[in-house]
Amino acid sequence: MKFIDYYKVLGLTKSASLNDVKKAYRKLARKHHPDVNPNDKISEEKFKQINEANEVLSDPEKRKKYDQYGKDWQHADAFEKAKQQQSHQRSHTYQGRQGENFSEEDFSSFFESMFGGQRASGRAGAGHVKFKGQDFNASLHLDIKEVFTTHKKTIEVNHKKIRITIPAGVENGQIIKLKGYGGEGINGGPKGDLYIQFVIQNNTPFKRDKNNLFKTENIDIYTAVLGGEKTIETFNGKVKIKIKPETQNGTKLKLKGKGFPVYKKHGQFGDLIITFNIEMPKHLTKREKELFNELAKLRGK
């Protein structure tokens, strides 16, 4: 657990007045509020930090405790106990987290250890108004092979297991919304939503553009010149293709319906586009050189 410098978080010095704290908090909140920074994890994290800093520094009692123990916060409770025993005074006991409606991740472990998870009325100015819970953002890393077919997957978000269906053809970077899988509502409001962004890794020889797949296929010079057949790997199986005589380097061949599944359109597929790369023979024998010379002469070269 790391010590958090709440003054630094708000860009203040220790001598800052309550008014300075409020001003700094509002300015930073306007910049990092989740409503103005959708799907931005860095801002979300920053917003939590400034909220936490504001929670401590705008409450005189908490600020006093924070200032008093500073970096020795880990021993704060021990100090308090010792003081209590000496003076037989009743010290503060903080309420536990029961009955609170905030996600555990809202506060740092530093805050939890120092203030025991107590917090004020929630969103500033919200009073006892019910609000929908916080929206959560998560990213799900998948291999391109996994999104070729529709399948179910169990994922864990904030210690909760959720079974989701991943439709075939999901795109890299695409975001889907799962209603009601976000944070608990505030004051009994409805739950927030969960936004999952797909991060799709592709280590296959296929390049993907939406539903179309692209692949480069090497063919030898003889097949390119004379024509022939070749068995090639598509994304989900082998097919035999015909190569026309005198095929030029870089020629493209479209295999209809052999591409990637179209998102949420069952049974529909994009195309596979093959680009031919003609391989030149290497390490020619004497005889081969003679024959190539003969061919060159025939063309007047």
Binding site: K207, K210, T216
Partner: protein, 98 residues
Amino acid sequence: MKKENLIDIDKLCTHYEVELSFFEQIEQIGLIEISTLTQHQYLHKKHIDNVEKVLRLYNDLKVNMEGIDVIFNLLDKITMLQEELIQLKNRLDIYENE
């Protein structure tokens, strides 16, 4: 319009502790649509997300209605640009490491 999807505006005023005029202002900037049925005003539940977002911007960040209008317009633009960026990044991948 199905009535079960409609919420009585009076109830929403009590729920969010705001005046009716607040909803009228949100309607003016085009973020919600208020329906009138049998002389009663209702809000379709699909607009609740926007109402709560407006309330948060208004209460938490002290942004006025004109500012909120600007924010919503810019957010729409950001969403559009982000989608375009993802598409372009995915396309770029085709030409990389060739």
